[in-house]
Symmetry: C2
């Protein structure tokens, strides 16, 4: 402190154990098991309130009769999202992390034991609403989808690059709000593609339905590409 005499101590905290290694082992086992069962799997991530659950509701409604979908709902405390998804008729399992800010592979493994996997084509894992930590934890998914609302501001890719670097698909949601927010859509697309040139981008609004057809068509192709 340039004020002078005030000087506090600085601790040295070192976390030596690689806590990600056992997670990756389980994630690989999950991925192999689901591949054997010909189930394709998505890990959907976003900030709180970007619209993951609503996107799932709308998608399941549109894909009814075309796909057998299973959903693993990650949530810190409540079962509110799982109840919303269950109401669509999809097989649903709730994971409550009791305070933890991301899902881990062992939680997904536990949830898989509660689903009838013989009847599924596509498994969707809805992660905890958090743009940071979930990016570090593999869950056995084939692909990662990051959902971003245009109401979050157009600086998020630059500020949370890891999430965009490790995802294959970006869903830009709440496009109906574009006229009411300061959001440079072209800048965002340029930035995410600079971070990850292979990112597949969907632009849609769950509220109006715009863009949902293309997204659901892609989901169907993805699930059938087994």
């Amino acid at each position: 402190m340039s004020g002078g005499e005030v000087r506090l101590f600085m601790p040295q905290v070192t976390i030596a154990q690689n806590i990600l290694a056992p997670n990756e082992t389980i994630a690989t086992e999950i991925q192999n098991t689901l591949a054997t069962l010909q189930i394709r799997t998505l890990n959907i991530m976003s900030s709180p309130g970007a619209g993951k659950t609503t996107l799932l509701e709308r998608s399941i409604q549109r894909l009814r009769g075309k796909l057998n979908l299973g959903v693993i709902e990650g949530d810190i405390e409540t079962s509110a999202d799982a109840e919303r998804i269950e109401a669509t008729g999809a097989q649903t399992v709730q994971i409550n992390t009791r305070g933890a800010c991301h899902l881990e592979a062992h939680m997904v493994l536990d949830a898989l034991n509660k689903l009838d996997l013989t009847r599924l084509d596509l498994m969707i894992i809805e992660n905890i609403g958090n743009l940071v930590c979930p990016a570090a934890w593999k869950l056995g998914e084939d692909l990662r989808v990051v959902v971003m609302s245009v109401a979050e501001g157009d600086d998020k890719p630059a500020k949370y690059p890891q999430m965009f670097a490790t995802s294959e698909v970006l869903v830009l949601n709440k496009l109906d709000l574009l006229p009411y927010v300061d959001y440079d859509l072209d800048k965002v697309k340029r930035q995410v593609l600079a971070i990850n040139p292979h990112l597949h981008i969907f632009e849609l609004s769950c509220r109006t339905g715009a863009g949902l057809d293309a997204w659901c068509e892609w989901l169907l192709e993805f699930a059938r590409g087994k």
Copy 2:
């Protein structure tokens, strides 16, 4: 798995060390030091994109000449927010967490060494955009402020109760978007007050300026209440 033969292993992961204890020791030292210097301190938290930085910009502009403000800007990778705050003329220090999802007290302590504390009335710490982890880490603040955008959906207090339970102030931001989103403002206020009956709530829009006067008046009173 009710499918039958597929059964993977379940790991036992136990983190025995209480990693929060050394943090609280440093946080208490920071709080005592700042109290001695008659500097009041806020820790501002939210989801990514709720509008923390814009709220700070608008507040500093309105409080110019009335308060000497210092800002500690937490960010994972960039210095974009610190540059925005620096442009307002406030003393600003950037903390880059290099991937970490929350600020810790030792980072704040390091940042304090880069500020001229003899000239400050109010210190504002802008935490990482994350509605989960920052709630667990004390930084030496006198009060905690959680900012929530109405575009995030009205189910967030129930889903992230810890953040609302440990904050003293809630800023409901982006109220100009209310006509365009499905958001039950009364339900949110009922829910947050059920979690935390003492929560002081401000409703405002940084975009239109509505509600900013009351918030800045409160900031001024808070800073002067030393």
